[in-house]
């Protein structure tokens, strides 16, 4: 399959020797949705800035749409669309004016601009708000316009940098639908950075997990979870149950895990949920609740970095 994005040993150092991206390799196939997952400060946005030619790399190389990001910047920009982390819009311009400006800067002819503007406004559901100034748009509307601007010149590759951060569930769902539609109907390759596990799970064909500027895991979400492989059983002790007694009962089934609610054990193959239930029953240990957790991407992150992705925050 044709490669849309090819990255080799990409590094970006900032002043003071800070390595935001510390040598990453990745390949994104044409027509694929690639989820780039990591906590704040992991290097996601720096990677996107390099791949979209906004920031020269310190070392390494990358080709986007077949063009070298350093030597063929203008060609890369003609090939890609990008909605960056902040929906940078001019509060004094209307949605329609934004689109016309974007289209004209992409060299689209005046008559085609009119048609394409209408088409894009319709697609992102902003037809009725087209002539309102951006200052009056909601966060969701701004994100939708941002997406329309990124799609204005029909790019083959789309970069979306945390596109749903701060959006309400309805707007988030609408944006997910549009991303899926772009891949399905137009074959657009999507490089999507996110810190939301669910987003990567729902949208991405493959996921790359980045931490401290390095890719710590890569593959399909199913494969990554299978790699972790082991579900966790979490038990919430009943009021009259001793937590220590519960821990002792669960310990033979695997490694005990931190749990805020009760006692959790990651099963290591010495029994399944039924065996756990039998053990609790034979020990007359009462539990208020019992859960079986299938592995999540957070478990993958935890396994690879020793930290949980959710709630892991570092300033970028």
């Amino acid at each position: 399959m044709e490669t849309a994005i090819e990255v080799r040993g990409l590094v970006r150092e900032f002043k003071g020797g800070i390595r935001a991206v510390a040598g990453i390799d990745l390949d994104v196939a044409s027509g694929e949705i690639y989820g780039f997952l990591g906590p704040n400060g992991a290097g996601k946005s720096t990677t996107v800035h390099m791949l979209t030619t906004l920031l020269p790399p310190t070392a390494g190389s990358a080709r986007v749409g077949g063009y070298d990001i350093v030597r063929e910047g203008p060609a890369v920009r003609r090939t890609i669309g990008a909605a960056l982390q902040e929906a940078a819009l001019d509060p004094l311009l209307t949605g329609r004016e934004h689109l016309k400006l974007q289209l004209s800067l992409h060299g689209i002819r005046r008559d085609a601009r009119e048609t394409r503007t209408k088409e894009l406004l319709e697609r992102v559901g902003l037809r009725n708000a087209a002539d309102r100034k951006i200052g009056g748009y909601s966060g969701g509307m701004k994100r939708r316009l941002d997406l329309a601007l990124a799609l204005a010149h029909r790019p083959r590759i789309l970069f979306l940098d945390e596109p749903t951060t701060g959006l309400d569930p309805q707007s988030r769902s609408a944006l997910w639908d549009e991303v899926v539609r772009l891949k399905r109907d137009e074959g657009v390759t999507v490089f999507l950075t996110t810190q939301y596990l669910e987003e990567a799970d729902v949208l991405a064909d493959r996921v790359g997990i980045i931490d401290h500027g390095r890719i710590v895991a890569e593959g399909t979400t199913t494969a990554l979870k299978a790699e972790i492989g082991r579900p966790t059983v979490e038990a919430l002790p009943a009021e009259d149950t001793d937590a220590a007694e519960l821990e002792a009962a669960l310990a033979p089934f695997g490694e005990l895990q931190p749990s805020t609610k009760g006692v959790a054990v990651r099963l290591d193959g010495h029994g399944d949920l039924a065996d756990v239930v039998r053990a609790l029953d034979s020990g007359s240990i009462h539990v208020a609740d019992l859960h079986l957790h299938a592995p999540t991407l957070d478990d993958v992150f935890l396994a690879k970095t020793g930290r949980s992705l959710e709630g892991s925050e570092e300033p970028e």
Binding site: T52, T53, L54, L55, P56, I69, V70, R71, G73, P74, V76, R77, R78, I80, A82, L84, E86, A88, L89, D90, L92, L93, E97, K100, L101, Q102, S104, L105, H106, G107, K133, L149
Partner: protein, 255 residues
């Protein structure tokens, strides 16, 4: 590239129109200050050697320069805001050629400068100021006013591109204002009695910009004053544009 320049200039003009404070202030404030100063300093016309008996005609150059300062700072702030909000990155992601951004941005400033010049001249004529250089002089006056706006505007853009901070651009205004006040704004240089002030005014390029505009109003065709004024405006424009272009290259580090 011309299309890109026109679109960006159009955006700059739209932004100005939609921020009334950005165009009402430059249209009203300099004229208000002129009215106050003219009332207070009218007696200066009786000084021996004062070049005209109308202080209003003498002082009409002031709004042109002050208006240029306003336009410059407002434009610089707009550019700095584009940097702060990431809008510059949005533009950088398009095939836009970098010089188009600067030219388009300054194009908007020039349009504003032209409107201001027309307004100041119209008000001056209505209140009885006579242009000694005639209709041709008015055209030259427009050209010079626009050139001055371009010169100042390029320095506003430079400040925005170097700092990326609206606050830093705002802080330029008092600096420019000092240049304006330590000039031959209120009196001809040869009538300034305080030595250090006369020296400072003579070293201050703004004096020559004012004197060039003033000469068209009260003298007619003073080639020396015009030559100096145009030369300074052109040199300032070239220096400002060159430095701004370099700053833009650094700011837009795209490959």
């Amino acid at each position: 590239m011309i299309g890109q320049v026109l679109q960006l200039a159009r955006r700059s003009v739209i932004r100005t129109i939609r921020q009334p404070a950005n165009w009402i202030t430059p249209l009203i404030f300099p004229l208000a200050l002129m009215a106050v100063n003219t009332g207070g300093l009218h007696a200066a016309t009786s000084l021996p050697g004062f070049p005209t008996d109308s202080f209003l005609a003498f002082f009409i150059a002031f709004p042109f320069i002050q208006g240029a300062l306003f336009a410059t700072v407002n434009a610089g702030v707009d550019l700095a805001r584009d940097i702060q909000t990431g809008f510059l990155n949005r533009l950088a992601l398009t095939p836009m050629q970098s010089p188009a951004l600067l030219i388009g941005h300054l194009g908007g400033v020039i349009v504003m400068g032209f409107v201001q010049a027309a307004w100041y001249l119209a008000v001056a004529l209505v209140i009885g100021v006579r242009l000694e250089s005639g209709v041709a002089g008015a055209l030259v006056l427009f050209l010079l006013a626009v050139l001055i706006v371009l010169a100042f505007g390029s320095f506003g853009a430079l400040a925005a591109l170097r700092t990326g901070s609206t606050e830093a651009v705002h802080s330029l205004f008092p600096v420019f204002f000092v240049f304006l006040f330590i000039s031959s704004m209120n009196l001809p240089r040869n009538l300034i009695e305080t030595d250090w002030f006369r020296t400072a005014a003579s070293l201050n390029p703004v004096s020559y910009l004012i004197e060039a505009i003033r000469s068209l109003v009260i003298t007619g065709w003073n080639w020396e004053a015009l030559g100096l004024g145009f030369s300074i405006a052109i040199v300032m424009s070239i220096v400002g544009l060159t430095l701004s272009s370099l700053a833009l290259r650094t700011r837009m580090a795209r490959t």
